[in-house]
Structure formats: structure tokens, C-alpha cells
């Protein structure tokens, strides 16, 4: 029984990590209708940037905030320079651009910081949680994920800027006609995704150690989580991440063993999408023709 509870709680913690990166994917999807394959590697660069600041002696929370700000700007710059150049290109060209960015950033990280595993600190490492079932960093990850989820939900639901970003993504031509500067909305979406990715990277690194391939596996899970929950829905992405984390653990421990758990998880996603193409919590919009 204790093993069971432990598998669930650690599944929720890894699931939160998937959810974190999935939120960044959802952010770009919601504001631009694109799926950014380079999201994980952008987060990787952010994490290395944070590592460099920490190595230079900056305190953790200052590093945390500074990294978020710099990653936001980085996201905006990538959109304004690289992605903007392909704004009238077909979707598939953009997919190639995103894959290109993925490889570029990955190589860049290896070139600048090398391939040695680096230890990345957690601000709560060593704190006691009063139980052996869950450690402090896992709780920290879960808490941060939920704070981000609530903040994102409130941003899109209740703020004028959030609505303008949704409008710009759904119908750019009409958005321009009501005076929304669509180009900046897209850049803002990339900036926010950059910031969310940075948080995800800094939460993941203490668990798996920092190296240039840290995000590859996580990105795959994050994609699957976002698809599972419904790409346009932050809460769905988080739920998808958590379901994934738990399922992966339980299956790995009790049913199919460690080697097949990723394949199994992906099979589950395919099965669910067959029945519900918009994802578990996605809403397919009704459209009159």
C-alpha cells in the first residue's frame, strides 16, 4: 500500500513537471495557433542562463526572477525575428523552422556549456515535509504549477490583454479592424511562453540534472499532456500532465515494467484522441457554415 501511495505522489510530482512545460506549449498555441517544437530547448537555454548566474554567486530567488524576465525578452525576440519572417508561409514551413530552432538551441547549449551533467539547486532542498512519501522539491513543483495555472487562467479569462491575445489568434483580420496590434500580441505570447518554459526548466533541472538533452524526453511528455488535455486549455494541459505522470508510474511498477511505460503512455493518448479528438477537456467550437 505504501508503494502504491508513493507511486501516486511521485507520479503527481513528475506530472507537474510535464504540466509546466505543457503550459508553455498551450500559451503559444492559444496566442498564435502554432505548436512550438523548440519550446523545450528554449527552456534549456533559460536554465543554463540561470545556472550561470547561480555559479556567479547570485542568490536563488534573484536568479529565478531575472531568468524569467530575460526568457520573456528572449521569446519576444525570437518571434519578432525568426518566426515573423515566416508569418505568411504555410504551416509546414513553420514546423521545419521550429525543428531547426530545436536543433540550433540544443547544439548551442552543448557548445557554450558542454555536455557534463551539472547540478542545479532547488530552493527547498533538504527541507523536511514530515513524511517520507514526498520530498520538498516535489511539493514545490506541484505548488508552482498550480500557481501558474491559476495565473494563466485568470489572465486569459479576465484581462483585456488576455482577451485581445485570444482574439488575435482566432481571427487576426478582425482583431486588426478593432485596433488590436496583432503582431505584438503574437510576440507577447512567445514572451510569456518563454517565461513559463524558464520556470519549467528551473524546476526540472534539480530532478534530472542539467545537460543539453535534459528537455528532450520532457518535451515529448509535455506534448502528450497538452494533447491529452486539449491544446487550447491550460487546465486541461495540467490535468493531462498529472494523469500522465501517475499513469506512467503505476503502469511501470505494476503492469508492464519500466521499459514500455513511455510507449504505453503514448498508446493511451492515441486511444483517447481517437474517441475525443479535441482532448479530454478540449471543447470543439461549434461553427455555422
Amino acid at each position: 500500500m505504501e508503494l502504491f501511495v508513493e507511486q501516486i505522489s511521485s507520479g503527481l510530482a513528475t506530472g507537474s513537471i510535464y504540466a509546466c512545460l505543457a503550459l508553455a506549449l498551450v500559451m503559444i498555441f492559444k496566442s498564435t495557433n502554432h505548436i512550438n517544437f523548440a519550446q523545450g530547448e528554449m527552456a534549456l537555454l533559460s536554465t543554463y542562463f540561470a545556472w550561470t548566474l547561480l555559479a556567479a554567486g547570485l542568490p536563488y530567488w534573484a536568479t529565478f526572477l531575472l531568468t524569467i524576465v530575460v526568457s520573456f525578452i528572449f521569446g519576444v525576440v525570437i518571434e519578432r525575428t525568426v518566426v515573423r519572417a515566416f508569418s505568411s508561409a504555410p504551416h509546414l514551413s513553420l514546423v521545419v523552422v521550429f525543428v531547426g530552432l530545436l536543433l540550433t538551441f540544443n547544439a548551442l547549449a552543448g557548445w557554450i556549456w558542454g555536455f557534463m551533467l551539472k547540478d542545479f539547486p532547488s530552493p527547498v532542498r533538504g527541507l523536511s515535509t514530515g513524511t517520507s512519501l514526498v520530498d520538498a522539491h516535489e511539493l514545490f513543483v506541484v505548488a508552482v504549477t498550480f500557481v501558474q495555472l491559476v495565473a494563466l487562467f485568470a489572465f486569459f479569462r479576465f484581462t483585456k490583454l488576455g482577451l485581445a491575445m485570444r482574439g488575435a489568434a482566432l481571427n487576426p483580420a478582425s482583431a486588426r479592424l478593432v485596433g488590436i496590434r496583432v503582431g505584438w500580441m503574437l510576440a507577447l505570447g512567445w514572451g510569456m511562453a518563454g517565461a513559463l518554459g524558464a520556470v519549467a526548466g528551473m524546476l526540472i533541472a534539480p530532478v534530472v540534472y542539467l545537460d543539453p538533452n535534459m528537455m528532450l524526453g520532457v518535451l515529448l511528455y509535455a506534448f502528450a499532456s497538452a494533447m491529452l488535455g486539449g491544446l487550447g486549455n491550460p487546465a486541461g494541459a495540467v490535468a493531462g500532465g498529472l494523469i500522465f505522470g501517475v499513469l506512467e508510474n503505476l503502469m511501470g511498477t505494476y503492469v508492464i515494467g519500466h521499459e514500455l511505460k513511455l510507449s504505453f503512455a503514448l498508446a493511451v493518448v492515441v486511444a483517447i484522441l481517437l474517441v475525443r479528438p479535441a482532448g479530454l477537456f478540449g471543447v470543439s467550437a461549434v461553427r455555422r457554415v
Binding site: 482577451l163 481571427n171 486588426r176 478593432v178 485596433g179
Partner: protein, 237 residues
Amino acid sequence: MPAILQTVALQAFYGSTQALFGVDVAVEAGGITALLGANGAGKTTTLRSICATIRTNGSIIFDGERIDALSTEDIARRGVAHVPDGRGTFSELSVEENLQLGGYLLSGGRAYRDSFDRVMSYFPALKERRRQQAGTLSGGEQQMLAISRALMARPRLLLLDEPSFGLAPLIVREIFRILRRINQEEKVSVLLVEQNARLALDLADHACLIETGTVVISATADEMRDDEGVRRAYLGY
């Protein structure tokens, strides 16, 4: 009366294909000008040119200033609202969110609520449907929503692209009645593109007839109605 909008020798292009060959139209301040013409004559293109959604040559003067070099967003910010061809509804969003986007340029919640109440006084049916997804409204309601969205930001010029398109005659008459009220009560000038020439001439005080990308007749609505050629070709009696 001075013109609030005037185009001079306006040319427009879709890629390398030229669609307008020197269009001169004017809207008087507070007035309604109708653009008449057959399918493909360049009516919709003229509206698109004014909002800079396609490439143009020539000058467009709004309220005494040239706007032909501005972006679509900046033209909207000057007070030009466009109800585009196909209505431009944000179909996935709710009715109220559509109106909020229409009022994007308003500053503050109070200005928004004032605009909302004012616009809903013309279209009370929409108010009851404010939480409904806009894409599920009937065609007539979607047209009303498109007009409401355009009015939210208190524009000085309203560009209307075929408000009668695809609607039942009864609904069309209602919408045109409301448009007349809006023109008078909101002091908003209107440039109206309409296939239904009779309807358009009843509402407008001035009309331009466009054929293959140029204005062939520009006259008051009454003169246009009495013109033998126009009557035969576009009014059908």
C-alpha cells in the same frame, strides 16, 4: 457639408492583379453614401482599401488627414470601423467577448459599460444572448453582432459590407431601420456597400455606381433612383 472621407484616384491590387482603377468616392460628415454595382465591380475592394487590408495607390483622406500610409490598426484607432465581408465574427468567443474586443480601444470599464448599454439599446436581442458562443447565433443575429462590435469603439465612420447578405427580407428591413437610427443618433457617417440597390438608395443620401473598378456615376440618391440606366440595370423596373 465637408467630407469626412474622400478617396482620390484610388487604385488597389490583389497581388499583381489590379482591381480598382481610380475610384473617387466621398462620404459627407453625418451622411450615408452607398456604393452600388454588380458582383466583382470593386465595392468590397474599395472598403478593404480604406482599411489598408490590401495594397493601394492614390490618396484616402479621413477627417482632413491622409490615412493611406497607415496600418489597419492605426486606421481603426482614428475612428474608422469596418463590418467586413463575411461579418468577421470571432465565432469561438461569446457574444459579450466579441463586444469587449469591439471596445478594445476604449479606456476603462466605465467607458465600456456605457458603450455596451448604448449599443445594446439598438439590438436588445443580443443582450439576452451575451453568454452564447457567437458562432451559434443565427445569420441575422451575427450581422447585428458585427454592427454592434463595430459601434463599440464609438467610430466616426462606419464601413458596412453588404449587411443584407444571406438574410431574410424581414430581418434585412429591420437592420436597415436600425442603421438609420444609428446614423442619426450616433452621429456616425456611413459608407455602405450593398447589392440590393433599392434598399441602399432608400437609406443613403448619396450613391456611387462602380463598374469594373471605376466610379461611373456619382449622384444624390434621388438622382440615382431616377436615372434610366441605373433603374434598368440595378433596380430592375
